[in-house]
Symmetry: C2
Subunit: 460 residues, 2 copies
């Protein structure tokens, strides 16, 4: 227990209600694990603020008593971002879940950090709008900004960082600031939006987000294109991108993962390497995009291409894709999943995915390979028994080899899941001298190292 825990609680009680503060073990347990294989650890205190002012006061208390602070959304992290490594006060943002303003004319929305992606899209639909970033999980927007989340639509609409116009941030000492404004572009001052998005709670707590939204496309169509080999599927996808087809989603699912998808989602898709595609556009343009894409698929050995025009079948297709992680977890009870997240330049993606698949087969692990092909980002989902140290070591060694392949080819160790605790060991290799610049910035903004310590940057 933190030596001054009683004093911290006493101070917090002066401005937080009874229902906004907890040291209950179950509550702490619910804030001590994420969706990953990383080992659970409990925070000492969990608080549930309702306003920016309360968050600012909480930070002032934390700063005075030098207790670590972790901002918490729904805990859908895959790299242990929200798991304490020392005495910790966790700030749960579930009470700050209001959609504050929809500005259809400006294509902007202003939300509190606890709003989830699906909650936002439900509201936006009334205005004919949608929020584009779709990481699969129904994460909070605060959490998605903290890890710079993306997912299947990034190839067309960009990642979380591309959608953030402004963040209200509470700094380590409780000061409140804004990183941006409502303008579509700016050359005024340093780009703090970019710096704070992806900072994983290590530079400040987000208390409000202004985000870019889009008009719902006039027409949408989904397709599955089946290939004899992973390489042919990727070559076809690469040609679609090079041809400048404004594809909205283009996802590779390998044979093993198609099998898991069928078992879990009750689909009966062909068990072959498959591209899941989605097109957005006006009717005529979409028709021509579809024709052109089909031609490219066929030129690259596509066995069959299935189009899903109605909403239900389209929804089912993406359900199956998004549920793949759960399909593996469900399929192997007792085992935990490790997800790799390397990105490579598109030109070497086929090599990277073949290498990933081959390594899984060679080592006898259970797992599949998925690819956000448009971004050169691919995931291996690898199952392991946490009670078997050899299993864990093998999975970690596997991730290390993929990361090394990625970095050798100019890529990155994580495209969308973030560093957390799982990818800290790769930071020095990946960033070299610039890691010192990152450390200097962290030290300047959080001199006492109370903001999510032990994540993203190892030592400060």
């Amino acid at each position: 227990m933190h030596a001054q825990l009683e004093k911290i609680l006493e101070e917090l009680q002066t401005f937080l209600g009874k229902d906004q503060l907890s040291t209950n073990e179950t509550v702490r347990e619910n804030h001590g694990r994420d969706e990953s294989y990383h080992e659970m650890a409990l925070p000492d205190i969990v608080v549930f603020p309702r306003t920016t002012e309360e968050v600012s006061k909480i930070m002032q208390v934390a700063n005075t008593y030098e207790i670590a602070v972790i901002p918490f959304g729904v805990g859908s992290s895959l790299e242990g971002h929200i798991i304490p490594v020392t005495h910790t006060l966790t700030i749960d943002f579930s009470q700050m879940n209001q959609i504050l303003e929809v500005r259809p004319e400006d294509l902007l929305v202003r939300v509190q950090p606890g709003v989830t992606r699906m909650q936002l899209n439900k509201e936006l639909k009334k205005h004919g709008l949608f929020f584009s970033v779709d990481p699969g999980a129904d994460a909070t927007l605060g959490g998605m900004a903290a890890t710079n989340a993306s997912g299947t639509t990034a190839v067309r609409y960009g990642v979380m960082r591309d959608q953030v116009r402004d963040l209200e941030v509470v700094l380590a000492d409780g000061r409140v600031m804004h990183t941006g404004n409502l303008a579509a572009k700016s050359s005024s001052g340093y780009h703090l939006n970019g710096l704070f998005v992806g900072s994983e709670g290590t530079l400040g707590c987000f208390t409000e987000l202004t985000l870019k939204v889009y008009g719902i496309p006039e027409f949408e169509m989904a397709a599955r294109a089946v290939f004899p080999t992973v390489r042919q599927a990727i070559e076809a996808a690469t040609m679609v991108l090079q041809a400048g087809v404004p594809i909205a989603r283009i996802e590779l699912v390998d044979e093993q993962s198609m099998e898991q998808a069928n078992a879990y989602s009750g689909t009966s898709y062909l068990v072959k390497p498959t591209l899941f595609l989605e097109f957005h556009g006006n009717e005529a343009g979409l028709k021509q995009d579809v024709e052109f894409t089909t031609e490219i698929m066929n030129d690259n050995g596509c066995l069959e291409i299935f189009f899903e025009t109605d909403n239900k079948a389209r929804h089912e297709l993406w359900e199956a894709r998004h549920n793949l992680a759960y399909a593996y977890i469900h399929g192997y009870p007792g085992k935990k999943m490790m997800t790799t997240d390397v990105v490579v330049p598109i030109g070497v993606l086929a090599d990277a995915i073949e290498f990933a698949r081959q390594l899984i087969d060679e080592t006898g692990m259970i797992g599949g390979v998925l690819g956000h092909v448009g971004d050169g980002n691919f995931h291996s989902l690898v199952m392991m028994d946490l009670n078997n140290p050899e299993d864990v070591a093998r999975a970690k060694a596997y991730n290390a080899r993929l990361v090394e392949f990625g970095l050798e080819n100019g890529g990155t160790c994580t495209g969308e899941h973030g560093v957390g605790v799982g990818k800290m060991i790769y930071q020095s290799r990946e960033h070299g001298e610039s890691l010192n610049v990152m450390r200097a910035i962290k030290h300047t903004l959080d001199p006492k190292n109370i903001l999510n310590p032990g994540k993203l940057i190892a030592e400060v």
Copy 2:
């Protein structure tokens, strides 16, 4: 003269050739002014490095003797970025102008900072590719990254910051680092790409850039839509954006500026508020986009719409638009131009532009209003006699009123020209608390304040 100028020159001569180092007055004059109204001032020394290693050694010398350093491209700044405010060593990057690598498969290019936009596009054309950012001037890519330049195509392809995958940067003490990698997205570490793009030479010197490029669109078409009023033109444009038409350019030119354009470019366009449009896409989609846009234009009182299908007429149309600044300068010999650069949310753009136009008319200044309507970014081009203090004061007061309008509505004082010396006075009002965070970052990375001092951030 800097007290230790002789020593500095001596040190530089140990690794720079005779033709790489100058204290000649004409050379210094060529590096003492930009394209703006800001008063000229000469650097003490100009150097012409050819390698990153030389830039690093130059920075080490500058750091030792605490002489200010200004990186210089072609001097096309509009806010005095490259004009010294103290004893200065200017680094001219014209000898570092190689296109190092084109990677068509990865849609990437690697260049030295002295490569200009047109030089790059000439090379890319051979590969069926193009670089999207088009600020009008044939600026260097290093300079464009330093100010986060954009221009007419930002509505579709984004600004300079969106194109930068990696920068090689020489820091204040001569250390060399990279801000990114070749991956299309990354959640690894802090987003240094975003921080360094737009830093105006105040955080480091760029010695190499890796940039995103695009396939040349299958079809392109340009149009001019003429309206009775500025408000109707903007309302039409706003509806096009809200409808999600993937328009490639959408520019407003007011009546006064159409007159200047005709006089300078020899065109005979109707002298009325006009939208200049460009469409990129596949043949069928573009056709439908054009039809839909025409419908929206007509619904908003468009008087006439002219399409330019052939390459020459299309080129002529954009020439006329891009030459507008020169048209004003040419039209009023002896006068200098001040350009405002406010961005507002699209919803208030019509109000902002009407306000800007009205203020010009009320004060009796000569000038026009142009708008990158898709971004909510508009420029007033205002002519003034630098020998007439009243004229200058009036223009400055005008800019201040537009900035105040912008900031009151959630906008920014500069969308693409940058802060330089001209917009420093607005930084505190615009950024509030976050300006302190910017200052802290600047101080951490440049403790001796030698990197382009007196720009972007006033006091450190």
